[in-house]
C-alpha cells in the first residue's frame, strides 16, 4: 500500500513554482531520504504531504486522502507529524504546559495526555527539571527534543522530518535515529530531508534526489543512496 503518491505535482510558494512536477511513491513502512541542494523543493514536498499546501496541479494522495481537496488536506493533517525548522512551541509557556497543550489539542483526554506526555518525555530524555521552565529559557537542542516529544505524543502514521538532526548534539542525533527506528518498528512511514547523508545512511533508507523542483533520479527502489 502506498502512503504517499505524488503524480506530476506542482506546488507554488506565492508565485514561485517550488515544485515543478514531482513524481514520488512511498510505501508503508518505508524510510525515505530526500536530498538535494538548497532550494530543490525538499521542504515543499514535506509541506505538501502534510496537507499544508494546495497542489497547483497534478495528483497528491497521502494516507488515502486526496490532498487536491480541502477536506482531504484537513483530515490528513492530524494523522501526520511534521518537524520543521521552527519549534512550534509557545515561548512563554513551560515545557510541561506546551506538551500538555499539544497533546490535548490532538484530542486526547487529560489523563491520556499526561500518560503519553510522560512516555514521550522519557523516550526523548527531557529531564523533569525542565518541565516547569519556560521554553524561551531552553537551549536549541532542548527545544528540539521538546518539539519532537510533542509530535511523539500524537502517534502519527507518517513522519515528515525536515533536517531533524540540525542543532542537536551527538546524543540528540542518536536519539532522532532511534525515534525513526521506533516509528518504522511501529509500522509507521518516515520521510527525512537531510544533508547528513552518512548519518541517515545508517538507517538504510531509500534515497530520492530532488533538484529544480523535481525528482532527478527517478523513483528508484535501490537503497544505497548512490545511483
Amino acid at each position: 500500500m502506498s502512503v504517499v503518491e505524488l503524480r506530476a505535482a506542482v506546488a507554488l510558494l506565492g508565485r514561485f513554482p517550488a515544485l515543478a512536477g514531482v513524481d514520488l511513491t512511498i510505501h508503508a513502512g518505508e524510510t525515505v531520504l530526500l536530498r538535494g541542494p538548497n532550494g530543490a523543493g525538499k521542504t515543499t514536498v514535506l509541506h505538501l504531504c502534510a496537507g499544508l499546501l494546495r497542489p497547483e496541479s497534478g495528483g497528491v494522495r497521502v494516507l488515502d486522502h486526496d490532498l487536491t481537496e480541502v477536506v482531504g488536506r484537513r483530515s490528513v493533517r492530524r494523522r501526520v507529524a511534521l518537524l520543521g525548522h521552527a519549534t512550534g512551541l509557545y515561548d512563554d509557556l513551560t515545557v510541561g504546559e506546551n506538551l500538555r497543550f499539544w497533546a490535548r489539542a490532538a484530542g486526547l483526554s487529560a489523563a491520556e495526555a499526561d500518560r503519553r506526555t510522560d512516555e514521550a518525555r522519557s523516550r526523548l530524555e527531557v529531564p523533569d527539571r525542565l518541565l516547569d521552565q519556560p521554553v524561551h529559557t531552553l537551549s536549541a537542542g532542548q527545544r528540539r527534543r521538546t518539539s519532537l516529544a510533542a509530535l511523539v505524543v500524537r502517534r502519527p502514521e507518517l513522519w515528515l522530518l525536515d533536517e531533524p538532526h540540525a542543532g542537536l548534539d551527538q546524543a540528540g542525533r542518536d536519539l532522532v535515529d532511534a525515534l525513526i527506528g521506533d516509528a518504522v518498528a511501529a509500522g509507521g512511514t518516515v520521510v527525512v530531508s537531510s544533508h547528513e547523508l552518512d548519518r541517515v545512511a545508517a538507517l538504510s533508507p531509500r534515497t530520492v534526489t530532488l533538484a529544480g523542483g523535481a525528482v532527478v533520479d527517478g523513483p528508484a527502489t535501490d537503497s544505497g543512496g548512490i545511483r
Binding site: 506542482v10 530543490a40 533538484a211
Partner: protein
Amino acid sequence: MAEEPMSPVPLPEGTASDTTGSRGSRLLGVLTLVGLAALGVLAFVLTDPDVRIHPSTGAEFGQFDAVRMLYVHVPLAVMTYLAYGLCAVASLGVLIRRTPWWDVTAHAAAEVGTVFCGLVLVTGSIWGRPVWNTWWEWGDVRLMTTLVLFLMFAGYLALRRTTGDPRAVSRRAAVVALVAVLDIPLVNRSVEWWENRTLHQQSTLGDLKIEDLTLFTLMLGFLVLGMVLAWLLLHRFRVGWLERAALDHSVAAAIVERRGETPDDELRRAVGDRSPGEPL
C-alpha cells in the same frame, strides 16, 4: 484562487482582442455617452427648478436649481448599492465555489462600487451645502451609512493591494466584503436611532414635487448610470481577468524554467555525491 484551471472566456470564433473592448462593449459605450448627453439636456434645460410657494406667506421656497444635482446623485447612490450587492454575492461565490471568475467579479464590483460611492459622498456634500446649509449632515442616516460603507470598502481595496498569496488574499477579501454587507443594517439602525436624538432629516425625495418630466429625468438617470456601471464593470472585469491570465502565464513560464534548472553534474557536486571512477 484557481481550484479549476483557468479557461478562456468561451468564444466560438473570432480573433483575440488587443484591448478590453469588444463590439458589444463599444456599442454600450456609445449608447452610454448618448444617454449622458440626453441626461444633461434634460437635467439642465428641460426640467424646471424646484420652486414652491408657501401657501400662507406666499414666499418662494424649495431647492431651486440645486435639485438638478439629484439627477446624478440619487442614481449614483442606487448604483453604488447595486455594485456592493454584486460584490457580496460574488464573494459568497468565492468562498463556496473558489473559482477565479467569482473572484475577479467581486474585485471589479468593489472597485467600481467604491468609485461610485466616493462620488455619492462628494455630490451629496455639494448638494447639501446650499440645501441644508452644511457640507456634512451628521444626522442623515443615508449619508452616514454610505460613509461607513465607503470606509469599509476602502479597507477592502487596501487588503486587495497587499502583496501576498493571491488565493489567501481573495478569500480574506471575500470575508471582508460579506462582513461589510452584514454590518450595514446594524450601521443603518444605530445611526437612525442616534440621529433621532438630534434633528430629524426629511426624506430627500419626499418633499420634492415630482412632476412627470422630473420623474422621467430621474428614471433616465438610473438607466444611464446603470449603463455607466455596466460598462465600467465589464472593462474592470476584463482587466482583472487579464491580470489573472498574465499571472498564470508567468507562473507557467516559471514552471518550465524551473524544470530546466540545475544541470546534473552541478547537482551531484551540491549533494556531495560522486560518480564511481570520477577523480576527486
